[in-house]
């Protein structure tokens, strides 16, 4: 992902008989071909198929499909349902991702700092929610948020507040809390792994220059793990744009608040499975995929340019 993400694999020049050369050249495919075969079936073919679908439209009364060119795309761009769901994940992205990544960064720096008691214990426990399926996390938090046997009611009682996590005004925050709970540990581990391999000489040099703890973090540690931060940011952006599991599961609890187009992904799903509008659904999926890829690409460019 960064420029160094592609490990150069210098293969020393071999002195082989000229006749065997052509065959030797191709032998790497022996190992790569099985992966690429399945990859073609599960990644490339669906993308191509979705693109083809997006160019056609069902004819309601006559049956069959007709070629409509870019009509489905113009429809998506003029679709208020799509834009409402898109704005929602954008807000989610702008608020939840920074909170989650900053928490993960603080946790990683603390665990790496050698100033924490029982650092190994902290590392494992904070990572633990990653092993909890999104379904279980959403069900669990959904119950906790609820009035019946949840903790929210107890807490409100204790603090004298009136926070209803499942009400329309709080719902997005509540979903953000679930996602944060699930993924802080995962991102912490990415940052921590990068922190651990910073050459120790850098710290010694910083100490000689009289840098304190925070100065060292700002001037040595954060620049050294920029690659990891860019990667974590890209994965988090992708995750936010594709938000589906948590709201779809919590729909059982609040069917009136979470509609069929709460997020773009839920919209694409419901168009296909509740509306049989496959062509339009494929178009929504493609538009979201392209937007996500472009933003991920821009983040990566910006992230690695600063490295120069």
């Amino acid at each position: 992902m960064t420029s160094t993400a592609a490990p150069p694999a210098p293969v020393p020049a071999r002195r082989a008989p000229a006749a065997r050369r052509p065959r030797r050249k191709w032998r790497g495919w022996l190992f790569v071909a099985p992966f690429m075969l399945v990859f073609a079936l599960t990644f490339i073919a669906p993308v191509v198929y979705a693109f083809v679908l997006s160019l056609f439209r069902d004819q309601a009364f006559f049956g069959g499909t007709v070629f409509v060119g870019a009509d489905n795309y113009t429809q998506v761009f003029a679709d208020p349902k799509f834009w409402e769901s898109f704005r929602r994940v954008l807000v989610f992205l702008a608020v939840q991702v920074p909170i989650m990544l900053v928490l993960a960064l603080i946790a990683a720096l603390a665990i790496d700092s050698a100033r924490l008691h029982a650092a190994g214990f902290f590392r494992v426990v904070i990572f633990l929610p990653y092993a909890v399926p999104a379904v279980v996390a959403a069900l669990m938090w959904g119950f906790i948020y609820g009035d019946h046997f949840g903790l929210a009611a107890d807490l409100n009682h204790l603090l004298g507040t009136e926070v209803k996590p499942l009400s329309p005004s709080w719902l997005l925050t509540s979903i953000g809390n679930i996602v944060t709970w699930e993924f802080v540990g995962y991102n912490m581990l990415i940052f921590y792994s990068a922190l651990k391999v910073i050459p120790k000489e850098l710290f010694e040099a910083a100490a000689i220059d009289g840098a304190g703890t925070f100065r060292t973090i700002l001037s040595v540690k954060l620049p050294a793990i920029r690659g990891a931060i860019v990667v974590a940011t890209i994965f988090s952006i992708i995750g936010s744009f594709q938000l589906f599991n948590e709201p779809n599961i919590m729909r059982n609890l609040v069917p009136n608040t979470i509609g069929t187009f709460y997020t773009p992904n839920m919209y694409a799903y419901n168009l296909s499975f509740n509306g049989q509008q496959y062509n339009y659904s494929a178009t929504v999926a493609i538009v979201m995929g392209v937007i996500t890829a472009v933003i991920a690409y821009v983040v990566q460019l910006r992230g690695s340019r600063k490295e120069m």
């Binding site: 694999a9 050249k25 790497g28 690429m36 198929y49 426990v125 119950f143 799903y269 996500t292």
Partner: protein, 287 residues
């Protein structure tokens, strides 16, 4: 080993206390789950969330979870195991072979493979799921285990991790020596490479295992019959039972089922700590 005090600072109580707060946030929902999985359905409503109440019904709940609806939970557990063993296992094998191939061979099209796979990391799996469903339904694969297994076989992240790991862990001289001894490429892979890649392979298998075990979206759209559901889709179906006309809430079973779904992965991660932590840090050496 460091001679400078900055690399061996004193332990800080303030920092530990601050982090302990976060630890509480992490653990409270899990503690809540354990506590409430031990309650009967009436007690769930009548007692406070974070205290045990009524009779201790955990074992009774576990029994009910496994026998409810002719033991469908057991079937879902079996399905999940099938998807994990074949899907995640296959993904690990494919990623290991391909990552090794990318790290240690130069071949025509290598750059192309790199570009395509890197692009695939940016394409979110869920964006592919609907088109994959439409394609699989044309092929008659939907509502069969294949529909879940085939897409699970590809892990671009796994390939990337093995690639980075193999570039460091396998010296080219070793491969050359084996070739001079007359070993074929496959044989070298099986006898020399695999052993050196073990920590990387365990890391990849753990992460693909989590992905397959926790997968919800893919099986949700691919499968229409409960008999093929994995645990995640099944649990959500149980949870949905509490809604609508003719609602039959089984909250105690949803909670106990959730707890039972988490345990195997948590145990796997705790037991294999040493491996995945070293595997991941090797992966970040190159960053």
């Amino acid at each position: 080993m460091a001679t400078f005090s900055i690399t061996k600072p004193r332990k800080s109580r303030v920092l530990t206390g601050f982090m302990a707060l976060y630890l509480v946030y992490t653990l409270v929902p899990l503690a809540w789950l354990v506590i409430n999985a031990s309650k009967t359905q009436p007690a769930l409503f009548s007692t406070s969330g974070l205290s045990f109440g009524g009779t201790f019904a955990l074992f009774d709940n576990i029994g009910q979870t496994f026998t409810y609806n002719d033991g469908i939970f057991f079937r879902w557990l079996g399905n999940t195991l099938l998807y994990v063993v074949v899907g995640a296992g296959g993904a690990t094998i494919l990623a290991t072979a391909a990552g090794y191939g990318m790290a240690k061979y130069r071949f025509p099209g290598r750059r192309g493979v790199f570009a395509v796979v890197l692009g695939a990391v940016a394409v979110p799996p869920t964006a592919l799921a609907v088109p994959t469903f439409l394609m699989f339904s044309k092929l008659g694969l939907t509502n069969t285990p294949w529909a879940v297994l085939i897409p699970s076989l590809i892990s671009p992240f796994g390939l990337y991790l093995i690639w980075v790991y193999a570039a460091d862990a396998i010296p080219d001289e070793l491969l050359e020596a084996a070739r001079i001894d007359g070993a074929g490429e496959i044989r070298i892979f099986l006898t020399v490479t695999l052993r050196l890649l073990v920590p990387g392979i365990i890391t990849v298998s753990l992460f693909t295992m989590v992905q397959t075990w926790n997968n919800y979206f893919l099986p949700l759209i691919m499968l229409s019959e409960p008999k093929w559901y994995p645990l995640t889709v099944g649990l959500n179906q149980w949870s949905a039972q509490a809604n609508g006309a003719g609602a039959q809430p089984i909250f105690n079973l949803v909670l106990t089922g959730s707890l039972l779904t988490i345990i195997p992965l948590v145990v796997a991660f705790l037991l294999m700590q040493r491996f995945w932590q070293s595997g991941l840090s090797a992966g970040s050496v190159k960053q």
